[in-house]
Symmetry: C2
């Protein structure tokens, strides 16, 4: 197989991570999702817990930075970046280095935007209707319908906000990606096969 | 083949109509694009020229209706609909009747929304990066880059405005559709094969 990077954006509860993992396994390459946390922690000195709580969220509010000891004014005056931006920059570097080194799948984290200048990147978005996502999240976390629905809306909002802040594209807009697939009718397997089929035509 | 309807939304210059036509031919079913104009003209009494100039555009402005002899105020007071709404209602009926009667492909015209209660509808969106669309439109209409770019922006704006006005969904948003495909890398043939592949998994 030629060197190829697949980036997977996903609506919360659509099965996007499962698609990414299964695709990576079928292609015999690595899937980077939570693994990026560990790599970022190792290289940056941030703790894994801190990264988990703050990555893929746009948390550089005045209050947040104040609590963390960096005011926006100070950071602007001194050239120091807010922590969320430092965290993004660290992940950004790791995504670029990893993509250079090996074929792989990245889940979320603006990877499609970070790697926009490469010619070997297939950018995919995985989605599903709200009803199907609620069922999936209720099953996965053992929670009720209302809680599942709120969790989905909150997480999607955070992902969109993060993506739209760090890129000049729109999260969840069809033409941000090369291929967008609804998993609710064809399942995880079906979506993986569709991506493989796109890759074959693309070569 | 089971009864199936495929609706194709498309960015201007992405080759969406070509995808729809080729798909219909491969499946041995009809593709309704301009054909809807003729059907609507026959049933409504509007001329084909009038329909062509006004359909898939949200043209029910006060000025437009004034020129056409229907002021918004009059239409609201008497219950008469603006002409663009009448035209939409007529196309709406024809799309519903046709979908009931036969498997087919519909290009644009909110068909996915009109048919939202059916379980046999696959809703597709065809797109391509601006650069690739400009090249296509320059070739097709024999026009320069600037004119092609303006034509694309204007047409997409009209389509989005029409779709967003008559539906409660967003034109061009990934989760409005079940499958969104960028044709620039895999071509018209590739996109057609992807849709066929989705249909096979779906059954």
């Amino acid at each position: 197989m030629k060197h190829v990077i697949i980036t997977v954006g996903r609506e919360f509860g659509s099965g996007g991570r499962a698609v990414a993992e299964q695709l990576a396994e079928k292609l015999g390459i690595k899937c980077y999702d939570k693994e990026l946390l560990t790599l970022t922690a190792k290289k940056s000195g941030f703790s894994e817990k801190f990264i988990q709580e703050n990555e893929e969220k746009k948390t550089d509010s005045f209050l947040f930075n104040l609590v963390m000891g960096i005011s926006s004014q100070t950071s602007n005056l001194t050239g120091t970046q807010p922590l969320s931006v430092q965290l993004y920059m660290e992940e950004f570097k790791i995504i670029k280095e990893t993509a250079e080194k090996e074929s792989c799948v990245f889940v979320g984290r603006c990877a499609d935007y970070v790697l926009r200048d490469r010619k070997d990147v297939l950018s995919v978005f995985i989605m599903a209707p709200m009803k199907s996502r609620i069922t999936r999240i209720m099953d996965k976390y053992g929670i009720g319908e209302k809680e599942a629905s709120e969790k989905i809306l909150k997480t999607d909002k955070e992902r969109a906000s993060y993506y739209n802040y760090y890129s000049d594209r729109k999260w969840g807009k069809a033409n941000t990606y090369q291929l967008c697939i609804d998993t609710s009718e064809i399942g995880i397997d079906g979506a993986v096969e569709m991506i493989q089929s796109y890759l074959e035509k693309w070569k």
